[in-house]
Amino acid sequence: MMKRLFTHPFIKFVGKKAVFYLFVAFISLTFIFLIPRLMPGNPVDQMIPPGTTDEGRLRLKAELERYFGLDKPLLEQYVSFWANLLRGNLGYAMMRGYNFIPVATVVMEKLPYTLALVIPVLLISFFVGNWVGARAAYVKGKRSEAVYFTSVFASQMPFYWFAMVLLFLLAVNVSNLVKLAALGIIGGVMVVLFLLAVISGPVKLAVTGIIGGVMVVLFLLAVNAGSFPTGGTFSPRLIPGWNLTSFIDALRHYALPFLTLLIITTGGWASGMRSMTLYELDSGYILYAKQLGFRKKKLASYAQRNAILPQFTGLNINLNNLIGMTMIIEMVFMWDGLGLLALDAVQARDYSMMLGTFLVTMVVVILGNFLVDIAYAFLDPRIRTGRGG
């Protein structure tokens, strides 16, 4: 029984991936250890205030090196780096406003804000994008091309610039007319994209209509309630708590960064899925099934299932990209996550904070990749059932 468990392909697959990601973690953490020690620009030199006398500089440097343990041999430093890491000690924040709080505490406090953007965007864009892309492959001619170009355009816009445009159109005190026009264009493009891809029956039309209607109402409410906030996580005068006011306030701040990331990632999935499905629809088994007289729905489900697998392998890379994108989007919207923390740390030249932020990002990416791989193993019947293809 035990033996069968361990030789089951699914368990074997997961085990292999676990070993791989542990290896990646080891390499990346070693890399983080080496960066400040090998790169030009000694962190200790940058901590010494300008205007220090030469003698003072030398003494301060020796003192700081002793404090950070940089005077010990490299191997000993490496061992204590791991010892500290395993105890969850990432050093102390040097930058202003953080008063020597442990870096790990600060980073863990900011992490949920970043994940609150990354996880919903990743999941929603994956499902919506692939759905739109697959539908776009079935409709022929102009409508298909229109969906294709809309999604390509959405995915190829520079995300940071799109964030600025959204801020310009929605958050600044431009006249309501401009705002409405902008909302109309954005909402219109999204609704048109959906309509073009979807209309094939009264039920779906109704569903799309309801979604579009809800979106329009939401947008109008948002416009009516005043413009979107230009940045931050909460309004300055609000004390965050677990109540409705804070929730709505946070939601209004959340809307724009979320929308920016969602539109851009959804476009990417949609254009990829369209070409994958088109390719599957052209392949032999579908043509054969068509000759046999299978219903359209059946054909679609066959093609879609084969087209989604390569998309799933793209989820890894997409996650890695999305984390980086989110960090920059946070800087634009002043969203209080890891990205904004990284920018603050960079500007304050706080090395422990910079390395700590990157370390946690790396760990999140590795865990995320591992989860995606496990999900892939579940979806691929060749791995799940253990009967190789």
């Binding site: 790169m39 355009f153 995915s155 600025m164 910079m354 990002t361």
Partner: protein, 279 residues
Amino acid sequence: MFELLVRSRKFIIGAAVLLAVILFGIIGSMLTRDPLAYSTRFVEPPSSEFLLGTGNFGEDVLAQLCTGTRNSLMIGAIAGGLATLLAVLVGGIGPYKGGLMDETSNAFTNVIMVFPMLPLLILLAAILQQRSMFLVAALIGVLSWPWAARCIRSQVLTLKEREFIDVARMSGMKDRKIVVTEIMPNMLAYIIIVFVVSLSIAVLTEAGLSMIGLGPDPSTNVTLGSILYWVMNSTHAALPWILWWCFIPPGLILTIFLVAVFVMHAGMDEVFNPRLRRV
């Protein structure tokens, strides 16, 4: 091969737009004023004298836009070239030799692939204080090759098994000669695709890095990202988003450029990838 490309509508349209963007950068930067010439006419909206208005220090936005396009493309070309070179080395030699070499290079690629590129770039760029355009290009190039190496690896693996390579090997050709005379000509189109896509990724990345102030020094280097940086850090407007004439054009140029590369790439894919061939 190139006759096929010319028949692809997507490729032609994409290439034409790409060429227009390149010409805009090169010729435009010759015709316009000095992009770093400051004046006292700060942040003025477009007028007949300054076609796209003036920036934070009273500089001509149109001139900045042209020079920025040129510089961004240059950084992209250096970074893309470097990434392509690394990808060909890592993704080409290993699989061709096979065995342990292949496994090592593949494992190496897969490990680097997990590294999130943008956060790593932010970290490295922040540590390197003096950043020239070349340094930023080199950083981006060194970090952005893994996906390309993977593409090239799969291509080399299929090419290696073809009969004409076997024939060449049996006729006693040296490895180096097989690579130069048999494999390279068949890979050339593929490598060009990889280069063009690497270039577009590098341009997008550079502008993002520069926008948050981690690109080449924004006070002496004009790139598309540095224009965005000065908008974000403007001292003339409480909310930088009001300076639409400063930040809409560079983003539009970027969007046009990226869409053109994507469409061109899609066109090339349809020609070279037998799975998608429609021409």
